[in-house]
């Protein structure tokens, strides 16, 4: 099995062609056409309920389109190929994905082992995100900011080629926001792509080369 650093068999294109997705029998996304190239930062703005999270989960290959088609890192959505590319995708969801009963360090070790990353990256990652002194803190004792930093550390370790950020700046202090910016910058430098969604366009304008607006499941404007 490939380690997280071996990307030789991973394609670089992420494309949606008239893609649509439903959840619970309800159509959430319709007729999406978007292409994301390496080195790009795409911003997606939209009000609550527009389908931004669903779009990210579609790009993360966690759900399949029921209309149109799509390719993420060269793998066709809805095909078994997505299992080969998922470890090259990083997702920072609305709710931090941290195992509450494990310490911050244990969470990172667990992720590093599963993805085949070098465990020596953990100490550096903890230092970078400012959690070196809190590494022994259990997930259920962490503040929201600490959980976000833990996720950032994990994404630094796993080095995703497609980074997906769902309202990643919400509720963070200036230090933590700068950390997310550094994560975005590092992904771009390593020829990856970033898609970030937010209900606040101000978060997107300075960071994204392109900003699209999602409304009622459709991408309506491109700036």
């Amino acid at each position: 099995m490939l380690s997280s650093d071996d990307t030789s068999l991973v394609g670089s294109n992420t494309i949606l062609e008239r893609a649509g997705a439903s959840l619970g029998g309800r159509s959430i996304l319709r007729g999406l056409d978007v292409e994301i190239s390496p080195g790009q930062v795409l911003g997606v703005a939209g009000p609550n309920g527009a389908g931004k999270t669903t779009l990210l989960r579609l790009l993360a290959t966690l759900i399949s389109p029921d209309q149109g088609s799509g390719f993420v890192l060269g793998a066709r959505l809805g095909s078994p190929d997505v299992y080969d590319v998922r470890r090259f995708i990083g997702l920072m969801s609305h709710t931090p994905a941290v195992i509450a009963e494990l310490t911050i360090r244990e969470n990172l070790e667990h992720a590093a082992r599963l993805i085949g990353a070098d465990l020596e990256r953990i100490d550096t990652a903890l230092r970078v995100v400012g959690l070196a002194g809190a590494a022994a803190t259990r997930g259920d004792a962490c503040s929201f900011g600490m959980l976000r930093r833990t996720e950032a550390a994990r994404l630094l370790i796993t080095r995703p080629r497609l980074l997906l950020l769902d309202e990643a700046f919400s509720g963070l202090d200036v230090d933590a926001q700068e950390l997310i910016d550094a994560l975005i910058g590092r992904t771009i430098e390593q020829d990856g792509a970033v898609v970030m969604v937010s209900h606040d366009q101000a978060h997107l304008v300075d960071r994204a080369a392109r900003v699209m607006t999602l409304s009622a499941g459709r991408l309506e404007t491109v700036t």
Partner: protein, 236 residues
């Protein structure tokens, strides 16, 4: 800490004294050497009831006063009560196996109700573990502790209320029914085990105060989260 050590040491001496009496007193004609177990079984069960009674009292006091020391007392007493109940049940089962030929006898409602009491307080401890907030933990535990004590008099008086294989209380207000030497051994062990309970209770309370002080110290420590080192991002 010296006080705790002295209490524990003297409790140890008291228990050893009780054991000496237990092993040198005459034995029951029918039960033989196994009757000596009762010198431990009965005191352990009495102390278990005492411990849960202390819990109920401390729980009610917490509900009235809302001070942490009553919660500490309730918690410490339950922990000891569970241990003493388990020891009492175990010694009772050993005695039962030896004398009755069965470790557990459903004909004796006191055994079943004692076991139920044991698990009620296991549940109390599980409840405490599940609540991280000290104030909420104290409140819910106090409510459960006050209610759970209803078990204690039910267990003690069940021998008079239901058909039972247990001998009716050997020590009654109108005089004991056992020989003086056996009574002496039993009473010495009652005193010794009760003293052991109080010594352990003081030690556990001392430990609880240290645990709370340590937790408070940790909470006051400077925030372990530091500013990110963005210049080192490329090193990960």
């Amino acid at each position: 800490m010296n006080r705790v050590r002295i209490l524990l040491a003297t409790a140890g001496i008291a228990v050893l004294t009780g054991l000496w009496f237990a092993f040198t007193s005459p034995v029951d004609r029918l039960q033989g050497e196994f009757s000596r177990i009762l010198n431990l079984h009965a005191p352990f069960m009495w102390v278990a009831f005492l411990a849960f009674g202390v819990t109920a009292f401390a729980s009610i006091m917490w509900l009235i006063r809302r001070t942490p020391r009553w919660d500490r007392l309730a918690m410490a007493s339950v922990e000891l009560g569970v241990v003493f109940t388990a020891t009492g049940l175990f010694t009772g089962m050993v005695w039962g196996q030896a004398v009755w030929g069965r470790a557990w006898d459903w004909a004796d409602p006191r055994m079943a109700s004692t076991a139920v009491m044991f698990f009620v307080y296991i549940g109390y401890l599980a409840l405490r573990r599940a609540i991280p907030d000290p104030e909420m933990r104290a409140k819910r535990s106090a409510l459960l502790g006050a209610i759970a004590v209803i078990q204690v008099p039910l267990v003690y008086f069940s021998v008079n209320l239901f058909r039972s294989l247990h001998q009716t209380q050997s020590i009654r207000p109108d005089g004991a029914t056992m020989p003086r030497e056996m009574l002496m051994a039993l009473l010495v062990n009652f005193v010794a085990i009760t003293y052991l309970y109080f010594a352990l209770l003081v030690a556990r309370l001392h430990l609880a105060r240290l645990e709370e002080a340590s937790a408070a110290e940790t909470a006051r420590e400077p925030d372990a989260v530091t500013p990110p080192r963005l210049s080192e991002v490329k090193d990960v």
